[in-house]
Symmetry: C2
Subunit: 374 residues, 2 copies
């Protein structure tokens, strides 16, 4: 950025794939770095306390104006900006629209784009398709969870939800769980479960992969359970189903008995400050169908006087060695994640660098010299 | 958006110019439409009450981490999303980085990009350079103010601040003030004032254009005064300088005597709900160096118990005929504007449509069929 001329790189979805966006092992490495930076504080997001997930445009349930979109499942637009430090030192913003009605149009539920920006000048460095970027970075976080929070000999994995995020998460968990022997898949929509089963079998021919008929079967006897269901599902997870030493990773919410959970389970999140920011952005109950994640459920429990935030551990503090995840081998852990723009900045920046090295993408010129440079 | 394939249009700064982004008369027409839609409520922005200006990433005054940007003049990133109804029916997000240190690099202080999205699918329709888009839509709003709030025989115009916004605003005011005879320009940096003088003289050879040495000279005897100064300037405007019937338009803040102003001046804004949203997003004093606009000054006056929001009029209500701007010919009006993403959506959409008609821009493919369409 030493000249008035500004160019940037456009990466469509195929470019992103060619540049390595589907490399889950590397993505888990990057997300580990991000979570360490979150623990040390070397980042800035938006909002009143610099920790916002992003800003949401949502539509009314009963629009008064002709043509105005009506609220519906997953219907929103969202902008997620962040600066990330460490070796990244770059800013960016993910911007997406989401609508369940996309599915019959053969479009993804959400269509996401990511901009990366020079942290000093603000000039765009890259504009990229962010569907796979988002799915992989979201999936990778439970992978970090398995690396740092699961018992090393975890053998049985239960997957609740086999959609886009459930699929990338399965990839991450299997990358991180070296001793895995068996995978159980539960999805309300059986063809989705079948697709994930075939995918895992083709990648891991030595694994036993089964589709199960109930949430209970998916959870019982599992060493690791992942929740990646839709907002409405909010699966009930009974305490009797949980094996000692179990790790539950969750990018969606779940229905847990509050008393048992607070008393007996270690509660770990990706960044508690992001959930605290929700207190300014939203109203109780914070955990709702539109935005269902465990961090928000924990906010509700605190709001209801059931516990204090002293129960909550940040995974970055575990990775950085500040806090121990487990006090005993049999401790059960719930690790809830909520998605943060710093993840997109990190993984986007890495893919952008790969693309530059490999000559992938379309170079676009913004201007030779800005019309108004004042 | 009837097929799984998604394409969108990229418009760089020259494309934007070729597609008409500098057509101020048309821009004032569009902004008039937007202000009417704001009055009727046919729009949604982000935030707790759907009226947020946007989400800001700002840096600490004393960063603890090596390499983290340090707070400075105009240093921030900002994402501004909105849906706009009416004949537009489109969503979008402006995303920019801003840093005064860009100037010696021959880059604009802010570098802005705009994405337009299908309101239903969320698919990107266009990605465009937004520097001129922003400057023109911001300038156009005082132009709307002159059309609807200035005395029809306004002859003398005073301009405080001749930078990027001051320049586009001058263009709008002169487009709207058909009877203008004289323009006075004041800027702390005299070459900037000279550039604007030459520009106005070449466009309007019959106008008398003078550079004045003080704020007082710019305001005294003027029928219309525009404030477009930097955040730090906050010019003091004495009540003795104000001619009866004066219209002050302001995209930046000003230092007005609260008692006199509240008692004697009509206070008009672009969208009071946007300023009310600031109550959740920021702390008192709301009008500060980082974000100085008159709507925030009015929030401070309400917070201090000096007045209530019953004093505040939305210009859209004036345009829609719900409210009268003036009670008497001699009433002085202050019209403060704060910038809103709905403006960017409207003007961006119009330029995008022009570009499509004229075959301007670079067509980019996102995907033939999304890798994950679930």
């Amino acid at each position: 950025m030493k000249t008035p001329r500004v160019d940037f790189l456009y990466l469509n979805e195929q470019d992103m794939i060619d540049a390595g966006v589907l490399d889950m092992h590397q993505c888990i490495n990057e997300m580990t770095e991000v979570l360490k930076l979150l623990s040390s504080g070397d980042y800035v997001m938006g909002g009143k306390h610099d920790n916002s997930h992003g800003i949401v445009v949502s539509f009314p349930d009963e629009p008064e104006h002709e043509g105005m979109p009506k609220n519906g499942p997953d219907r929103r637009f969202c902008a997620m900006p962040a600066y990330l430090g460490g070796d990244y030192r770059v800013a960016g913003c993910k911007w997406y629209g989401s609508n369940l009605d996309n599915i019959p149009k053969e479009l993804p539920r959400s269509i996401l784009m990511m901009t990366l920006n020079d942290a000093d000048t603000g000039a765009p460095m890259a504009y990229m398709s962010a569907n796979l970027l988002s799915a992989w970075r979201t999936g990778a976080i439970p992978g970090v969870g398995v690396r740092y929070l699961a018992k090393p000999d975890s053998k049985v994995i239960g997957l609740l939800g086999a959609g886009s995020i459930g699929t990338s998460t399965a990839e991450a968990i299997l990358d991180a769980a070296a001793k895995a022997e068996k995978v159980k898949i539960y999805d309300v929509y059986s063809p989705t479960a079948e697709t994930l089963k075939q995918r895992i079998e083709s990648e891991y021919p030595n694994l036993e992969v089964v589709i199960v008929d109930s949430q209970e079967e998916a959870v019982r006897n599992s060493d690791i359970v992942n929740l990646a269901t839709s907002g409405e599902a909010n699966p009930r997870i009974e305490k009797e189903w949980m094996k000692p030493g179990l790790l539950i990773t969750a990018s969606s919410s779940g229905n847990f008995d509050p008393n048992h959970t607070i008393e007996n389970i270690r509660l770990i999140v990706d960044n508690w400050k992001m959930y605290e920011e929700v207190l300014d952005e939203d109203e109780y109950p914070y955990n709702n169908l539109a935005m269902g994640v465990l961090g928000r459920l924990f906010l509700d429990w605190i709001h209801e006087g059931r516990m204090t935030d002293e129960k909550i551990i940040n995974i970055g503090d575990v990775i950085n060695g500040k806090v121990q995840a487990r006090k005993s081998e049999d401790d059960i852990i719930i690790f809830g994640l909520g998605g943060q723009p710093v993840y997109d900045v990190a993984w986007g920046y890495r893919i952008y660098q790969n693309a530059l090295k490999k000559g992938i993408g379309t170079k676009l010129n913004l201007w030779e010299r800005a019309y108004q440079a004042r």
